[in-house]
């Protein structure tokens, strides 16, 4: 293979990938499939007019199978080659997000996060998430020197600002670079928000900031940013009704999150029934398959709110198990990143794992009414083609990083196996 085509062989890596990470991921996938079957069959039966209880289950199996092959393909790719696509990927994702908005406006629909490809609907915001990770990983790796530079910036506006303030406010090169990437992250978030995907925007902001942090931006800006975020949060919580950027439904959700009315069967229906499901599960759960709340009480029980059904059937123990598995996956993923052969790989792995981790944390926060109800899916568990494919694709890149990382041999598939043959 190596000799057949030099160009192609340059794209691929043949080292072993990280087995512990792979196994944890497979465990989560298997767990996810079982819970998806349990949480979706009632809804499936209803949606298909009694034809099939397995409609969503089979589709997800298909997505996972397809995703796994994508993952394997990506894992064999040399991730460093992704650098070439980093900037263009972000632009494409913006284009797709904006296209969705435009189509949505034309069709006059309220919320449109989906782009129909005829046979398959994609969610551009999912692609945007990965594009941000890729863009930041590439840029922050390439411009590391600028990021850590303490020299005054020579960018025209920074120079002008220094002149006007008589040198009192001087932005360093690092700060300007940080701002540059922050603006890109922010813009992406705004586009996604315009596409009516508040949770996606928040997610992008959060792991974007995490990546900038990893890119060694100056700590003080993160402290300032954190304080600003808290102020914004306080304002939003108190004046959500009067903020023009927030659409009516967003304000509604914040309002119903704040009132905590357990008897509300309208705006808090989903959240309340999610909490009822968790309570019904108790410590040990009602047993796999025994959820009653999945019978049309918890809406979206097979997608964004699948965790509440896990909570009902497997109890607190099961919830902790799921969160524990995710924690293991994240720790292993980040460990791989820290042992990657280059900064790009490290940033890529960190970004991907941060994205997954934040998504899990926010999903459970929504299910437990800790945060307002927004549509965040639970990776490996929630039903959905886009999210499954993007997640598994990202896993592929992470495994690709692992192939070239400095990891103990014991844990990697290696050619030594092949040698035995």
């Amino acid at each position: 293979m190596k000799t057949k085509n030099k160009l192609l062989s340059g794209l691929f890596v043949s080292n072993g990938m990280d087995v512990p990470f792979f196994i944890i991921m497979l465990g989560l996938m298997a767990f996810g499939l079982v819970m998806l079957l349990s949480s979706s069959y009632a809804y499936s039966y209803y949606e298909t007019d009694g034809e099939s209880s397995l409609h969503f289950f089979f589709r997800e199996i298909f997505f996972m199978a397809f995703g796994l092959s994508v993952m394997y393909f990506f894992s064999r790719l040399d991730y460093k080659k992704l650098k070439y696509f980093a900037n263009i990927a972000l632009l494409i994702s913006w284009g797709l997000v904006l296209l969705t908005i435009v189509i949505g406006k034309i069709e006059g629909g309220e919320i449109n996060r989906w782009l129909s490809l005829g046979f398959f609907d994609i969610q551009p915001s999912e692609i945007a998430k990965f594009a941000v990770v890729l863009f930041c990983a590439n840029g922050l790796d390439k411009n590391r020197k600028k990021m850590v530079s303490t020299r005054p910036s020579r960018v025209s506006w920074a120079v002008k600002l220094a002149d006007i303030t008589n040198g009192k406010i001087v932005f360093t090169e690092g700060t300007v670079t940080l701002f540059f990437y922050a603006i890109f992250v922010g813009l992406t978030a705004v586009f996604v928000l315009l596409g009516s995907h508040l949770s996606g925007a928040i997610l992008i902001l959060l792991f974007g900031v995490a990546m900038l942090w990893m890119g060694e931006g100056r700590a003080r800006w993160f402290v300032i940013g954190g304080i600003a975020a808290v102020i914004v949060l306080v304002i939003v919580i108190n004046f959500y009704d009067d903020i023009p950027i927030l659409k009516d439904y967003m304000a509604d959700r914040i309002g119903s999150w704040l009132n905590k009315d357990l008897t509300d069967t309208d705006k808090r229906w989903q959240t309340n029934h999610s909490l009822f499901a968790l309570g019904s599960g108790g410590f040990f759960g009602s047993g796999l398959g025994n959820s009653k709340q999945k019978y049309f009480y918890v809406s979206e029980s097979h997608t964004d709110f699948i965790f509440s059904i896990i909570g009902e059937e497997l109890g607190f123990v099961g919830c902790c198990l799921v969160l524990g598995l995710f924690a293991l996956l994240i720790l292993r993923g980040v460990y791989i990143g820290m042992r990657a052969r280059d900064r790009f790989g490290a940033l890529l792995a960190f970004g991907i794992m941060m994205q997954i981790g934040l998504q899990v944390a926010l999903n459970v926060a929504v299910v437990t009414d800790t945060l307002p109800n927004t549509g965040i899916s639970l990776p490996f568990f929630s039903y959905g083609g886009s999210s499954t494919l993007v997640t598994l694709g990202e896993m592929g890149f992470l495994l690709s990083v692992s192939r070239q990382a400095d990891l103990p041999k014991l844990y990697s598939f290696s050619k030594s196996k092949k040698q035995k043959v």
């Binding site: 909490l275 009653k292 009480y297 109890g315 459970v364 050619k415 030594s416």
Partner: protein, 759 residues
């Protein structure tokens, strides 16, 4: 291959060191970021999960179950209400209720289909299809009741409607119960009825609601978020338990007599109402109780009284009309026997007499000279007979209903003793009868308090004026006179029986107290018998039965110029079984006295009741002479011989046809026929039954009525007061102008108009 592998790894290893790898700062920052994620993200999540799943799980589980579990009530049948002979007066039967699950309605078209379909089947004024359409609009609801208490026929129609239009789980039918009153108006103010929720609203249904109400059964099922049954086999069923049944002391037959008498009294006297009660004097059991006009228990909100409807019609304003209508409905439901108070008037004199005899301030031979008036403090109180009754004994005083006589008795007793008996006869307290809304006597309002009872109040009270009592108080007190002085606790419910027919409660007659001695009571009773035999109560006289009674007439305290006429009677006087009280409210006839209008009603009720109770009549000679005889057999005789035979027996003959021989007679042999009656002799075949027009037989004396009847070819049966010459017929059983077979018997009711005035 092995070398190649090693090579590549070695190269990688080197390259790793050459290229910018992860530095210390990045590693630190990575650890901080992950720590924040795990602590703030995952940690908070786990705390929240613990909050809901460990520490407050029960609260949320209950909330979940309250949504999932659907508790369907199986209505329990109410207990049956029987009369004393186990005739069903009220019972619950299976019915159904229909509801709609709006969340399952597919589209507007289906919504219209359901609305129109149900409206057509239910055929309810208040449930037009638009009403149903609006009811079932909210898709968030899984259960909207359309109508309950649906009977079998519409229920099957709805079932067909569901089948035809494939509306399963959209239109549904649940069990329900419905209360039926087989006799409609019968005893309506006593029995009462239930509301939409099957709770007693008035009457016994209200008073015994808890007893009659059964324990509803339940079906607990799990339902999903769309209100459909969950696929899990999760259903628990508890059967419904029927409520306890009641056996009343009320007797359907006696009740019927009373109701008939009262409704006739309302009609005859153009009265606003008439009410009455028949009581077993020895037990306090109420044998009959009625208020007229009454209402149909199966349609309790429909006013049928024409006078009331006429009054209502004048109200033009819709809202005002509705309010007035409602008020009238409530008025119609009122059991006046228990809830209303009235001025007893002269009837009360029997208690003054009893108190006087018991205390020894008078005896049976005491006399009083009535000069037509008596001075009490600053007032001169007149006797109803302005010229005075002259010297009379106590009995004569009662017979004449002489006011001054009883004023003197009251004054002789004094406030202390008079009040003692007033209280002892139960006029200051409720009777505790087991019926709702009993009028509560209030000292200073409905009667004079002891401390307020001066000579004027004492004097007026002594002959039954200036205070009010309820009919149930009055009949209970009269019963005490009739039963030898025992004040009984009146009751309507004699027995309670469970679903299997076991008696779970039986009322034992309760003696509240001995009010007067047996001899005093008997003396008063004898005096009362004189009232009926020759006094103001003679219209209650019944041949063959000894009746004791007292009349009363009083001007209403509350309404100017209106009167209330009453009569209370006990029979048989030598061994009283029953007491009857008849009250006629606001009669619009000139002669509005109790003796003139209430006593005849009581007489008929007492006669019918005693006969029904198989009390053997004992006739005096005078009565016997007027008794009916039987027709001799003249069939086959020649017309002349037949006429001869009949006249020998003091009968008249009327020949129909031109034949020589009697081929048929009516009344036929051994049939009852009054003396001086007529026998129709048919002499031609094919003409053996002829009808004629009934003449007007009212306003006549007995002999006049008989003569007129016989001349028209009819016989009469004398009913009511028949002693003395001044009796006048006031009603006939077959209306004048109607057709009736020649020779048939028409009952003619007589009463006397003179000597019955008592106020």
């Amino acid at each position: 291959m092995g070398v190649e592998y090693l090579d590549s790894h070695f190269v990688l290893f080197l390259v790793g060191f050459i290229m910018t790898r992860v530095n210390k700062k990045m590693k630190n920052r990575c650890m901080i970021a992950i720590a924040i994620l795990l602590v703030l993200g995952f940690g908070v999540d786990i705390l929240r999960l613990a909050y809901f799943q460990v520490f407050n799980a029960d609260e949320y589980r209950v909330l979940a179950e309250s949504g999932q579990l659907s508790d369907t009530e199986i209505p329990a049948d109410r207990g049956v209400i029987y009369d004393s002979n186990m005739e069903v007066l009220a019972e619950s039967a299976s019915a159904w209720l229909v509801y709609v699950n709006p969340s399952k309605i597919k589209d507007k078209e289906q919504r219209i289909l359901i609305s129109k379909g149900l409206a057509k089947i239910l055929d309810d004024e208040d449930l037009k299809w638009k009403d149903i359409y609006n009811k079932i609009g909210n898709k968030d609801y899984g259960y909207v009741k359309i109508k309950g208490k649906i009977e079998y026929e519409p229920k099957t129609k709805i079932q067909e409607f569901i089948n035809e239009n494939d509306l399963y789980a959209i239109v549904c039918i649940d069990p329900d119960t419905k209360r039926y009153y087989p006799y409609g108006n019968f005893a309506s103010t006593v029995i009462g009825m239930t509301n939409v929720d099957s709770d007693g609203r008035v009457g016994i249904e209200l008073k015994y609601n808890d007893v009659l109400t059964g324990v509803p059964g339940r079906i607990i099922t799990a339902r999903d978020g769309h209100s459909d049954l969950m696929s899990t086999n999760y259903e628990t069923k508890f059967d419904a338990e029927q409520g306890t049944s009641l056996v009343l002391s009320l007797d359907k037959t006696i009740q019927h007599y009373l109701e008939k008498g009262l409704s006739q009294a309302v009609k005859d006297n153009d009265a606003t109402s008439a009410y009455g009660i028949v009581m077993d004097v020895n037990t306090g059991a109420i044998l009959a109780m009625a208020t007229m006009p009454d209402y149909d228990l199966n349609n309790p909100s429909v006013i049928t009284d024409k006078a009331v409807l006429k009054k209502l019609k004048k109200i033009k304003d819709e809202e005002e009309y509705a309010q007035a209508y409602n008020e009238q409905v409530y008025m119609m439901w009122r059991n006046k026997v228990v809830s209303d108070t009235y001025e007893p008037g002269s009837v009360f004199k029997i208690f003054t007499a009893a108190a006087g005899l018991e205390e020894g301030v008078v005896d049976i031979n005491s006399t009083h000279n009535c000069v037509g008036a008596i001075q009490v403090a600053d007032n001169r109180i007149h006797c109803h007979k302005r010229e005075g009754h002259g010297v009379q004994t106590l009995t004569e005083g009662l017979v004449n209903s002489c006011n001054p006589f009883f004023i003197t008795i009251g004054q002789k007793l004094g406030t202390e003793k008079f009040y003692k008996y007033f209280e002892a006869f139960g006029f200051t307290d409720t009777t505790k009868v087991d019926l709702p809304a009993e009028a509560n006597p209030v000292g200073g309002v409905t009667y004079h308090k002891k401390e307020d009872m001066g000579i004027s109040q004492l004097s007026s009270s002594a002959f039954g004026q200036t205070f009010q009592v309820s009919a149930i108080q009055m009949i209970t007190a009269v019963s005490a006179i009739a039963n030898g002085g025992k004040l009984m606790e009146p009751y309507v419910v004699a027995k309670q029986i469970d679903q299997e027919g076991n008696t779970v409660y039986e009322k034992t007659p309760t003696v509240k107290r001995q009010v007067v001695s047996e001899s005093t009571a008997n003396t008063v009773l004898q005096m009362m018998e004189q009232v009926v035999d020759g006094g103001t109560g003679r219209n209650a006289y019944i041949p063959g039965y000894r009746v004791a009674g007292k009349t009363g007439t009083s001007e209403k305290l509350t309404v100017d110029g209106e009167y209330i006429a009453s009569f209370v009677g006990c029979a048989p006087a030598d061994d009283p079984q029953i007491a009857v009280l008849i009250i006629i409210d606001e009669p619009q006839v000139a002669n509005h006295g109790g003796g003139a209008i209430a006593a005849p009603v009581a007489g008929v009720v007492i006669e019918q009741t005693l006969k029904y109770m198989n009390v053997e009549p004992v006739y005096s000679d005078e009565e016997l002479a007027k008794l009916n005889a039987t027709a001799p057999d003249v069939n086959g005789m020649s017309v002349a011989a037949a006429k001869d035979t009949l006249s020998k027996h003091n009968f008249n003959a009327r020949v129909v046809g031109n034949g020589d021989k009697v081929i048929s007679q009516y009344p036929s042999k051994d049939q009852n026929i009054p003396l001086d009656g007529v026998v129709i002799l048919y002499t031609e075949t094919g003409n053996v039954s002829t009808t004629s027009t009934v003449p007007d037989l009212t306003g006549l004396s007995i002999s006049e009525a008989n003569k007129r009847a016989v001349n028209s070819g009819y016989n009469i049966k004398v009913s009511g007061a028949s002693l003395g010459s001044e009796v006048v017929s006031y009603r006939q059983s077959v209306e004048k102008g109607t057709k009736a077979e020649l020779g048939s018997t028409i009952t003619v009711y007589f009463k006397t108009t003179s000597g019955v005035q008592d106020d």
